[in-house]
Symmetry: C2
Subunit: 196 residues, 2 copies
């Protein structure tokens, strides 16, 4: 039998974790963001392609650059969050393949020659890494507020070179539990799973 | 300070977890698959949309139906895995929104009327749930072998109705550590992250 994560750990990651909208004034340090990435990076990706990129907006100036792209309902919680991460995807991720997949030097060229496969790989795996990011933040004691309510094209024009595109945003900090909404129901196993 | 997952937990989830290709004969029970889903379901999705669907192939008959869709390099490890999960996406996920997002009954219709937004939401959030699935399996003591080397169209035709599409596959079981390849390097913080 493999070791399993403790019951307390499962509560932090899944059962008791909530999406937060209101933030306590406690800051998030750069060291915490580095420690967070040092967990995320280990999550599995196709051929170790690791296409996700992370931009951490910490200063009022950086937040102001994001503000015009946000849906109205996402402005206040994002402006007040200690950090807002932009989870993005590098569609030229394969340029790093010689480092990431050293035993098969042809891999970079395979992706470079097949732009449809590269695009699919980039977005699927960058999004999987987004999932790892949310759980790694929680594992590390941070609360998350992930959001897709924003104008991706505006964010891309403001923050990224042409080969990098925003995927979703995630506020990070220490949430105010007293401001949480009641938790929404989830689907039962038999509604979404099938055993064959 | 929020509680954080123990160092042992972080090793199980991230630091020491590996993608497995060779499986020990220990089976995975239906109870374990139900317990796995009961963690995955709590992961956050846009408007609690929960678009991922999970098909668990346990029997030789079910595996044989999958076999013709697999890339040659994925056949042996998949046929020998105790369970192969097909992580799929329901593009009509919004039909469940009255249950999932009960305080805003208009949400289902918003998605039904905007097929581009529904498609983007389905795929992004279904893939995030795929990330939660991999980490929840590890948290629960299972080893994973996620794969995208297969013919999605063949899998969809064989297993799913038109509104559900396969995303990726994930073998589940107890891996043979002695058969692992050396771990590939990861990108450093400064290669993929930026602090603003």
């Amino acid at each position: 039998m493999k070791p399993i994560v403790s019951d307390e750990g499962l509560e932090i990651l899944f059962r008791k974790a909530r999406t937060h909208h209101t933030w306590r004034p406690q800051p998030v340090t750069d060291e915490e963001l580095r420690a967070l990435y040092d967990l995320v990076k280990w999550g599995p990706t196709s051929a170790n392609s690791s296409p996700a990129r992370f931009l951490f907006l910490r200063t009022p100036e950086a937040k102001q650059r994001l503000k015009p792209a946000l849906s109205p309902g996402n402005v206040e919680k994002t402006m007040s969050a200690p950090v807002t991460a932009i989870i993005a995807t590098n569609y030229h991720f394969y340029e790093k393949m010689p480092k990431l997949f050293p035993h098969n030097p042809a891999m970079a060229e395979n992706f470079a020659k097949n732009s449809k496969m590269a695009e699919t790989t980039a977005y699927r795996n960058g999004t999987l890494q987004g999932g790892y990011f949310i759980l790694a933040a929680r594992a590390h004691g941070l609360d998350c507020g992930p959001m897709s309510g924003f104008d991706n094209a505006k964010v891309d024009a403001e923050f990224f070179p042409p080969d990098v595109k925003s995927n979703f945003l995630c506020n990070l900090g220490y949430g105010d539990e007293s401001k949480l909404f009641p938790r929404n129901p989830r689907l039962h196993f038999d509604e979404v799973c099938k055993l064959l």
